[in-house]
Symmetry: C2
Amino acid sequence: MFSKTFGYALRAVTFVAIHGRDGKKISLLDLSQNLEIPHHFLGKIMQDMVRHGIVDSTKGPNGGFFANDQTAKTPLLELLTITDGNLIFSQCALNIKRCNAQHPCPLHNDFAACRDGMLKVLAVKTVEMMAAEVDAGTAYLVR
Amino acid sequence: MFSKTFGYALRAVTFVAIHGRDGKKISLLDLSQNLEIPHHFLGKIMQDMVRHGIVDSTKGPNGGFFANDQTAKTPLLELLTITDGNLIFSQCALNIKRCNAQHPCPLHNDFAACRDGMLKVLAVKTVEMMAAEVDAGTAYLVR
DNA sequence: ATAAATAAAGAGTTCAAACTCTTTTTCTCC
DNA sequence: GGAGAAAAAGAGTTTGAACTCTTTATTTAT
């Protein structure tokens, strides 16, 4: 349903939201080691996050990624759109070309309900909500 | 969430359940043309269906695929298990190694609800229910 | 028996996601 | 301003799903 890239982005951005505040910066290596994500691959993903303004970064010694004004209040759906595009909104469970309420595949309604429920969650949940759960010890970003 | 193979299998088996009764046989080419599925690829999938006893087949002139006693009452979940294995039951939305109710990722509960709802539908719906919807014109297998 | 039709089987190709490696750019500290 | 640290960028590799092509086996009709 979601790409691995989305999972990596979500976990990394949440990690930065937690640890990359008050002038603290998280290096790519720190991120990839703490979250157990291949670091070159994560590099590409974080580039994209910076490009979209989800987090900020500085190069050079003591450089790294850090939270900005937007980081905490980013809805997860925005991350999904960046990593996976918006194909997920329209795609049919059976891969039929034309599938909609007027011309449904036999799984259209069941799948649409499931997918839309999930999208609703992603639209409402923000990075800071994720961070709060992790801080409270009620959810985990790794292992 | 599901492979294309599953969608192809579901549509093809349903088509056979509708048109391959009372001694009538559906050739691979008929199947692939009616459903607009690459026919060599569909061949492999139908082989697998025959191997698992979901439908029957005969070779030679006037050969093809046809429904057997089991076809109509096959739950969709059984097709899913054949085509996609049972990885889907355990996998986590964020691709975290250990993710369960005691050690959840931040999306665990939301995703589990969505996935389990979908699986419930697949466990209850059978091929004949799909066929009935298609026969009634309330659902479509193609385009 | 032979020929034709059809499923079955095997091997190969394509494509995109996931991942790796190398080089370049930018910045800081000395 | 030179060295080193770190992100950014580009190019390459791997892997598995999806798809194609060719050959073989089986059956029917004549």
